[in-house]
């Protein structure tokens, strides 16, 4: 099991290297924010331990709820913020009616 997982780990690393080759400067921030959202995958860890582990103390459960909350913040916050940032770039094309609402929130 460990060897298979290590193989997956190494290959995933190469995929990560390969995906990011040329990025325009303007997209550095959204890309960082997007990858940031993806490591919110730790949410799964919280769910797994809390869901499957049988002998958890009340304190452990508390820690895990916090961990799941943290992971969820990471995921939903990360993707939403990235989407908002990228929404700003759409300005290149003629403005769409649907963007007006988003601009309203951005200016608040």
């Amino acid at each position: 099991m460990l060897l298979a997982n290590l193989a997956i780990l190494v290959l995933a690393g190469f995929v990560g290297f390969a995906v990011i080759s040329k990025v325009p400067n303007t997209l550095h921030t959204p890309l960082m924010s997007g990858t940031n959202a993806i490591h919110g995958i730790v949410l799964l860890g919280g769910i797994l331990v809390l869901g499957v582990d049988q002998d958890l103390s009340a304190f452990d459960k508390f820690l895990l709820v916090v961990a799941i909350a943290f992971g969820t913040i990471n995921v939903v916050g990360g993707f939403l913020v990235t989407d908002r940032m990228l929404g700003m770039f759409k300005g290149k094309q003629p403005a769409k009616a649907g963007r007006e609402g988003e601009k309203g929130t951005a200016q608040r």
Partner: protein, 461 residues
């Protein structure tokens, strides 16, 4: 069932990778982000299908709590505060890994009977996750202005102290490895790692913060992958490692755009000795102050005006006002362009986001390499709250801490007007000799109100 879950995971990986590829191109970025988000949804769903998952109430509680906090935060954050928001989101991810490792330790009585690799990767996750959490909090504090953005360091002993703290964390972890099961050991590991996170990020100047956030982002990815190894969860391994690897590349790209090396940034002390030298040299030079009327006349009767936006514009939320001013100038036949330094503001791309928000036509936004030769032809370079990215010391003064950083050649234009709140130095804490140059005039005040008064004057012309 396991096959179904693995199948769903594999689809999720494909979505992550495809989504990330989309995020690297301007036209596909929005879709890429949505695709990656869909992958995440699928991965969560698949995990909930794993046989034997219970404690539903608590799982739902955690997810609801996270959603209630995360969604409004992400929806309401101002575009100017985006960088620190990313830091915060990154931090909580690292925090989650650290907390999971803590619980793993507790529920297995110090990893008793667990395979070595589970213990090693859990402890690795605990240390790196904790470093990332506390480091990100400092980065957030610095960008938010809660913590002073200038480097806060212990001076020479800094590296020694950092090393000792790291040794402390590793020593606690090794003791656990040798069979220690006191809860104090895992708490010690987390606390030493926390101290390390604080000590490493505090001495780093605000100007380097984007790179630091990106680095911490990559670290959180690695810690997530480690947690995945410990929990034998393929989705966490793959997603975490992809972020770890792509995050490192991105960190490198960003550091290159600022002409900084990652080791130099992490070693800290940006803007140490050079600051004092700079300010004493410039002490006796004078600054020319101008007013809105004069600025309006200069720009209205020029052929080309290049606007150089920086963090000052972002803070004052002046992007819409700047856009209005540019419209007025264009009506008078003046060509207006925007020079975007790759790291203007607090993050690469920060200015593009703000100006796009204000509906500035994309064709007018010029990247540094594209516009740098044009400054010599411009009648006026209007610097709005940008500082370090215009500092000629980066070109001329080998002793300057920012020497070698690519800058906008603002000083080569016929006339420079700088909108600035006061003479205080910029984010990097370095004096800007541009302000003392004979063809530079300063227009002091809040960027937005300054531009508004320029607009008034333009209308009166």
């Amino acid at each position: 069932m396991i096959t179904v879950i693995l199948g769903l995971y594999i689809i999720a990986f494909a979505l992550f990778i495809y989504g990330l590829m989309g995020l690297t191109g301007p036209r596909t970025a929005v879709r890429g982000n949505l695709i990656a988000a869909a992958g995440m949804g699928l991965a969560v769903l698949a995990t909930l299908l794993i046989p034997g998952v219970g404690n539903w109430a608590l799982i739902v509680l955690g997810v609801v709590l996270g959603t209630v906090v995360g969604v409004p935060a992400a929806k309401q954050v101002k575009m100017t505060a985006m960088p620190q928001m990313v830091a915060l989101f990154n931090g909580v991810g690292g925090g989650a890994v650290a907390l999971i490792a803590w619980v793993e330790f507790n529920s297995t009585a110090g990893f008793a009977g667990e395979p070595t690799y589970v213990m090693v990767s859990s402890l690795f996750g605990a240390i790196v996750g904790s470093v990332s959490f506390w480091g990100s909090l400092v980065a957030f504090g610095k960008l938010q202005g809660v913590v002073p953005s200038r480097p806060i360091s212990l001076g020479q002993p800094q590296q020694v102290v950092n090393a000792l703290v790291l040794i402390g964390a590793v020593a606690c972890a090794v003791t656990i490895g040798l069979g220690g099961s006191a809860e104090l050991l895992i708490i010690g590991t987390l606390l030493f790692a926390a101290a390390l996170g604080l000590l490493v990020v505090l001495p780093i100047g605000g100007a380097d913060m984007p790179v630091v956030i990106s680095l911490l982002n990559a670290l959180t990815g690695l810690s997530a992958a480690a947690a995945g190894l410990a929990l034998n969860n393929t989705a966490m391994i793959v997603a975490g490692m992809i972020v770890g690897a792509s995050g490192s590349i991105l960190t490198n790209l960003m550091a290159k755009a600022m002409n900084r090396s990652i080791p130099a940034i992490v070693a800290g002390g940006f803007g140490g000795g050079g600051v004092a030298v700079g300010s004493s040299e410039l002490g006796d030079k004078t600054v020319r102050e101008t007013n809105a009327a004069d600025a309006a006349v200069q720009m209205a009767y020029g052929n080309e005006v290049i606007v150089v936006p920086g963090y000052g514009m972002a803070v004052a939320q002046a992007q819409h006002t700047v856009r209005d001013m540019a419209k007025l100038l264009e009506d008078k036949g003046v060509e207006v362009k925007y020079a975007i330094h790759p790291v203007a503001g607090r993050m690469p791309g920060h200015m593009n986001v703000l100006l796009a928000e204000a509906d500035v036509p994309y064709e007018q936004l010029k990247e540094m390499d594209e516009i740098n030769d044009e400054f010599a032809r411009a009648d006026v370079a209007l610097v709005i709250g940008a500082n370090d990215v215009t500092n000629p010391a980066a070109r001329n003064d080998p002793n300057s801490p920012i020497h070698g950083m690519p800058i906008l050649n603002v000083d080569r234009s016929k006339s420079v007007i700088v909108l600035k709140r006061s003479m205080s130095p910029g984010f990097a804490g370095i004096e800007n000799e541009l302000y003392y140059s004979p063809n530079t005039a300063m227009l002091f005040g809040d960027a937005k109100s300054s531009v508004e008064s320029v607009i008034e004057e333009l209308k009166a012309l």
